[in-house]
């Protein structure tokens, strides 16, 4: 199923939750809506599901306007953040619910319902727990019941609101992979909401980064991580150092590396001198004897697959974070307090006017 969201705007009193939002989701795609809380991502998901009505704009399913279709008629499976399981029903009855409330002419026989529910439960590996009540399940199990329940109505679209938000780290990782497989096997078109960048980058075909109800950037995980379109995306996705600099003649020099400044968010690079910010990822900083910038090591965190250093650099208010491979770190024999020199391998520069906060 192809989903077109066109110019959708939603207001709650004076607060604009979603503003002029346009997005096209291709059949079979798994798309992540990523943004901080209050960025409008859940509202947008609820509009697509039909749980909220957009004030302006349309949502099209395979080209058909959905406005007149109620939430129950859209064949949309919705998985709620806190699962919203029916507490007084067993796992089996929870999953069977959508089949039992179908209009009489489409309703399955009890035996068919039983077969369908049990096959869904074995799909989510809960067939042995069919007679349990939700309160007797762990968080991860509840999550899978919620999924099986949503899948029971054979949705064309699966919408998930913070699907892994309430789970602990280990379960979250497992479920994530499992959801990806499920999505591919069933040929669904899925959209999920998350504020966890790692989750979005690992799971989604495309990531939609949202901020204040609008899109900051849409792209594959590689695209949004490697070439963030705006300072907001830079700061929201992955670790980054923000270094104040001066733009002269459309470019700035960061630690010996000349970088062309980019216009963004309506902030145009001025022809003359102007303040700007350079964004450089921790793994794009090199420690080299001939580096253009002097720095002092202030903190070393060497446990784990990579080593993390914090450096004091003249003219930079916060400590600068550097990421090194374990090998490189041991070769350098660094210690706290040591004076070193650094260069940047790559960076982006934006006019200061474009940077939030």
């Amino acid at each position: 199923m192809r989903i077109d969201v066109r110019d959708v705007t939603k207001r709650f009193d004076s607060f604009i939750a979603v503003r002029g939002f346009t997005l096209e989701v291709r059949p079979g795609e798994l798309v992540a809506l990523l943004g901080p809380s209050g960025s409008g991502k859940t509202t947008l998901l609820r509009i697509i599901a039909g749980l909220e009505q957009a004030d302006e704009g349309q949502v099209l399913f395979d080209g058909d306007d959905s406005a007149a279709k109620g939430v129950g008629e859209r064949r949309v499976g919705f998985v709620f953040q806190h699962y919203a399981l029916f507490k007084h029903m067993t796992v089996f009855e929870n999953v069977a619910f959508g089949l039992r409330v179908a209009p009489a002419e489409r309703r399955m026989s009890n035996t068919d319902i039983k077969t369908r529910v049990m096959s869904l439960l074995s799909l989510v590996q809960l067939d042995t727990l069919a007679a349990r009540y939700p309160s007797q399940l762990s968080g991860g199990q509840r999550q899978r019941v919620a999924l099986a329940r949503a899948l029971a109505i054979e949705p064309l679209v699966l919408l998930l609101d913070e699907p892994f938000g309430a789970l602990d780290a280990k379960v979250r990782k497992e479920l994530r992979r499992w959801l990806r497989r499920l999505h591919d096997d069933m040929g669904l078109t899925s959209i999920f909401v998350t504020h966890d960048q790692e989750e979005a980058l690992e799971l989604a075909d495309r990531v939609v980064v949202m901020n204040q109800g609008a899109i900051e950037q849409v792209g594959t995980p590689m695209e949004v991580y490697d070439t963030p379109a705006t300072p907001f995306v830079y700061e929201f996705l992955g670790n980054v150092n923000r270094i104040p600099c001066t733009i002269t003649g459309g470019a700035a020099t960061l630690w010996g590396l000349a970088v062309k400044a980019e216009s963004v968010n309506g902030a145009v690079v001025p022809p003359g001198d102007a303040p700007g910010f350079a964004y450089v990822r921790p793994h794009d900083i090199e420690i080299a004897a001939g580096g253009a910038q002097k720095a002092v090591v202030r903190h070393i965190g060497a446990a784990g697959p990579t080593a993390r250093l914090e450096l004091e650099v003249a003219g930079v208010p916060a400590l600068v974070e550097v990421q090194l491979s374990r090998q490189a770190f041991f070769d350098l024999h660094l210690r706290v307090g040591q004076a070193i020199a650094i260069t940047a391998r790559g960076a982006r520069v934006f006019p200061a006017a474009s940077v939030p906060g």
């Binding site: 599901a49 039909g50 749980l51 109620g70 939430v71 129950g72 008629e73 949309v76 499976g77 919705f78 709620f80 953040q81 806190h82 919203a84 399981l85 029916f86 507490k87 007084h88 029903m89 619910f97 959508g98 039992r100 409330v101 179908a102 009540y133 939700p134 309160s135 329940r149 949503a150 029971a152 109505i153």
Partner: protein, 284 residues
């Protein structure tokens, strides 16, 4: 630390807080003198009768008629209250309307208004020349001084119970559960019947049982409107008083014991319902 504070016993956990002996002693003493010993006196008096005498009093036709009226009217009144109580709780939790706070506070009126006042007010309203009574009289319906009047008084007395037990449950009910049902294709009625109703049912039944129990023992609001004709519109509490006025202490005690037994069975059922309700709502 004093020896008394450090002392532990087999039936209570040690604590550094003082005053257990004093407060517990006073509690038990007061409870015994006010409640337990007088209740024991009642049972003792009834026990003075032989089994046949006891059955003779408790199962006498006039008493049976009184039970029928008391249980029947209490059941009907509680049934009216469970329907309208759930409705009122729903409206108070889900809708906004003018004077909502006023209605909210007024629901507890039957707890605060003396029953005698309620009794004469309802009688005045439902008498044949009363504001409501004369409309009903035109429709050929006589309420005051009939068993129907008993039901009206008992509806009033039991009104807050269902509202007050269902309201918090509705308040805590997650809106997402209803949305989940809708997204799975349920219409509003299906959502109510299959999702909302089962969720509020234990609370509603608890309210029903509380209203029923309260109605069974009610006296003040009923006697003004009931007519009080033996075999017809005479409730059990009134029968107890009549026996007392005839100095038939043993008879009064015997019927009281029968009513107490019914009340305790109800109390037990209410406890079970509340346990069920808690298990339903569960720990998540």
């Amino acid at each position: 630390m004093t020896a008394a504070a450090a002392r532990t016993s087999f039936w209570r956990k040690p604590s550094i807080l003082p005053g257990f002996g004093l407060s517990m002693g006073f509690t038990l003493l007061y409870l015994s003198f006010i409640v337990l010993i007088p209740l024991a006196a009642l049972i003792l008096r009834a026990a003075g009768l032989s089994w046949d005498e006891f059955i003779g009093v408790v199962a006498d036709p006039r008493a049976l008629a009184a039970y029928r009226l008391s249980f029947g009217a209490s059941f009907l009144a509680a049934a009216v209250n469970i329907v309208f109580g759930v409705l009122t709780a729903w409206v108070l939790v889900r809708y906004d309307f003018p004077l909502k706070r006023f209605v909210e506070g007024l629901v507890d009126l039957p707890f605060a208004l003396p029953t005698a006042v309620a009794g004469i007010a309802l009688t005045a309203l439902f008498a044949e020349n009363g504001w409501i009574g004369h409309i009903l009289a035109q429709a050929g319906l006589k309420v005051a001084f009939t068993p129907l009047g008993v039901v009206i008084a008992l509806v009033f007395i039991g009104l807050p119970f269902v509202v007050r037990t269902v309201q918090p449950v509705l308040q805590d009910l997650n809106k997402e559960v209803e949305e989940a049902a809708a997204s799975l294709g349920a219409n509003r009625f299906q959502t109510f019947r299959r999702v909302l109703l089962p969720a509020i049912l234990p609370a509603a039944l608890t309210g029903f049982a509380l209203a029923f129990a309260r109605a069974l023992g009610e006296y003040g609001s009923v006697i003004f409107i009931a007519g009080n004709l033996p075999m017809k519109s005479e409730i059990v509490p009134l029968l107890i008083i009549i026996k007392l006025e005839q100095f038939d202490y043993a008879g009064a005690a015997a019927i009281s014991v029968a009513m107490l037994a019914a009340a305790f069975v109800l109390l037990f059922m209410i406890n079970l319902l509340q346990r069920w309700s808690r298990a339903r709502i569960g720990a998540f």
